[in-house]
């Protein structure tokens, strides 16, 4: 049965969307470029590039410091961007969104500011085998520093979290569950509702790695009720080094600062210092001001499209791509049911090594990722050293998926044994 059956056509005008992204018009070696690596970083619409440029050309100054017009304008843009981000993820108060350079920094902030403050020997940190290294290594470091134990939820053969053993993994010893919302290596959308409820039932807090989920799926932290949500701006049409961490007010308030330095303090004495209120106690030094302003423009763009529409279109495109890839003989590493997955499609094709495949595809103008995708536990679980990964976003088209599959055929011609 085709997975594309009974799917309503998308409400988005993708041809028009593509015109908003200047880079999509470029060629590689004389061929129109097909960019299928948005899970690594997304392309940027003109509006985002212009917002950053406009900031530097007309409003650039440091924020919360200068007693002059320019600094007030910069501060206003910076704080309005925070309100935009907060509303995008459903956070009721802008100050519950801390600016960071992205998901990696956000999770490290939680592992330091919350983990090292509250975890003790005998406590347990629960993560999963599906995580990106940025949701593993900070917890390994945190466990080493605190004496807490790190435990893992395993995976099923078809790329889902194996929750059959959740009862014995998630206990009153578990103090935090940190889990991805959508796997960058498998595409899997995790059952966050179930996980948050189960964690709260044993008194654990929940940190969601939203690096892939937030750009591609509606997210509302007020409904989700997780304590933390980490996300990256550059994967959701925004500039690199933009992003944030949502945290529940009372949790953020109890936490220690992450980085110390200028701007995050109230008073500094020889033997102590006091911090500002949230979010500023977590924002030391000069922040990524222009980038967060650019990210707000990206969020405006996504909101104008409507995240429900973005998700619906990507579901349709992912189903199309999965159908074609499977028909062409690709082995999909990850779920095949598009209702529980996003457009990060990991695969092996005819036993051609993913690096070879990516090189040949590049010659056809098709950009995919090959490697372990910063998810070595996933690679080990499925017995592969690496995978090829084509990842889709709202500007990709069925024609581009066709180009991918045509390029695969060329790789097969070349590598056929």
């Amino acid at each position: 049965m085709s997975v594309t059956e009974e799917r309503a056509p998308s409400a988005l005008d993708v041809a028009r969307i593509r015109e908003d992204f200047p880079i999509l018009a470029r060629a590689v070696d004389g061929r129109p470029m097909v960019y299928l690596d948005s899970a690594a970083t997304s392309q940027k619409p003109r509006r985002v590039i212009e917002a950053e440029r406009d900031f530097y050309e007309r409003h650039n100054a440091n924020v919360h410091r200068g007693i002059y017009t320019l600094s007030e304008e910069a501060t206003d843009l910076y704080e309005r961007a925070r309100a935009t981000l907060a509303s995008f993820v459903g956070a009721p108060e802008p100050e519950t969104v801390v600016y960071t350079r992205g998901t990696t920094e956000s999770i490290n902030l939680v592992a330091h500011g919350w983990g090292r403050r509250f975890l003790r020997e005998g406590d347990e940190i629960l993560i999963t085998d599906m995580e990106h290294h940025s949701n593993i290594v900070p917890w390994q470091l945190c466990a080493r520093a605190t004496g807490a134990t790190l435990r893992y939820i395993g995976l099923t053969d078809d790329g889902l979290l194996d929750l059959s053993d959740l009862g014995s993994l998630l206990t009153e010893r578990t103090k935090i569950l940190s889990v991805t919302g959508m796997s960058n290596a498998l595409g899997t959308i995790t059952p966050l509702r179930q996980l948050v409820d189960a964690a709260h039932a044993v008194g654990a807090v929940v940190c969601v790695d939203g690096a892939q989920l937030v750009p591609h799926h509606p997210v509302n932290v007020a409904v989700l009720d997780a304590e933390f949500l980490a996300f990256s701006g550059h994967k959701m049409l925004g500039p690199t080094a933009s992003g944030g961490l949502y945290g529940k007010r009372e949790v953020l308030e109890q936490m220690d600062p992450f980085l110390g330095g200028g701007e995050m303090i109230l008073e500094v004495h020889r033997d102590r210092a006091t911090w500002k209120d949230i979010p500023y106690k977590f924002e030391a030094g000069t922040m990524n001001i222009a980038q967060e302003v650019g990210l707000a423009a990206a969020v405006d763009y996504l909101q104008a499209l409507g995240m429900e529409n973005v998700r619906a279109y990507e579901e349709e495109l992912t189903a199309y791509a999965l159908d074609l890839l499977i028909e062409a003989g690709a082995r999909i590493i990850g779920p095949k049911d598009v209702s529980v997955r996003g457009g990060e499609i990991s695969f092996w094709y005819k036993e051609i090594h993913p690096h070879d495949l990516a090189t040949i595809l590049n010659e056809e103008g098709v950009a995919i990722r090959a490697g372990h995708h910063c998810a070595q536990l996933v690679m080990r679980r499925y017995g592969v050293p690496a995978t090829a990964r084509a990842s889709l976003y709202v500007y990709n088209t069925k024609e581009e998926v066709d180009r991918l599959v045509e390029a695969l055929a060329k790789a097969e011609d070349l590598f056929a044994f």
Binding site: H353, H355, A370, G371, Q376, P385, L414, F415
Partner: protein, 151 residues
């Protein structure tokens, strides 16, 4: 572009029909390495006689660049003095860094890997076999190393 295609053919030929690909448990010099970033694995077994590489064989798995490079390497260094092989390794690295234009007669099929220079991320795939060889040869100065000792 035609040149690229010839290179491609040579690389694929070594990938699909690797030369000297087998184990040699009795070899006195061996080393294994992998590239954790992409999972390429190569083991080298060297039998030396009178300061020369009398026989060299490889095993391993990975992408076409890593495996063809290893195959080509065995053909290039067999029969050479150990210091000659080391010099060749340095020259190969120089070629992959885009700094040296090696002698085609000397380098033979290895020249085909020159095209990899334009894919910086894959240069380490091409160089892996030579890293493994050189580490194996280091054992020649002191006591011989066995497959069990290295690896």
């Amino acid at each position: 572009m035609a040149l690229d295609d010839i290179y491609k053919e040579v690389i694929l030929d070594h990938y699909k029909s690797p030369r000297n690909k087998r184990e040699m448990p009795e070899a006195e010099l061996t080393c294994s390495k992998n590239n954790p970033l992409c999972g390429d694995e190569i083991s080298v077994f060297v039998h030396q006689e009178d300061g020369k590489i009398a026989a060299v064989v490889i095993t391993g798995s990975g992408c076409s660049i890593s495996q063809s490079s290893a195959s080509m390497m065995t053909e290039a260094v067999e029969g050479r003095a150990l210091d000659e092989a080391n010099a060749m390794a340095a020259e190969f690295r120089g070629m992959m860094a885009g700094e040296i234009e090696p002698d085609e007669n000397e380098f033979g099929d290895l020249i085909a890997l020159k095209g990899v220079v334009k894919y910086p991320i894959r240069i380490k795939c091409a160089v892996l076999a030579w890293d493994v060889l050189q580490e194996a040869l280091e054992g020649a100065d002191g006591e011989a190393t066995g497959a069990a000792a290295r690896g």
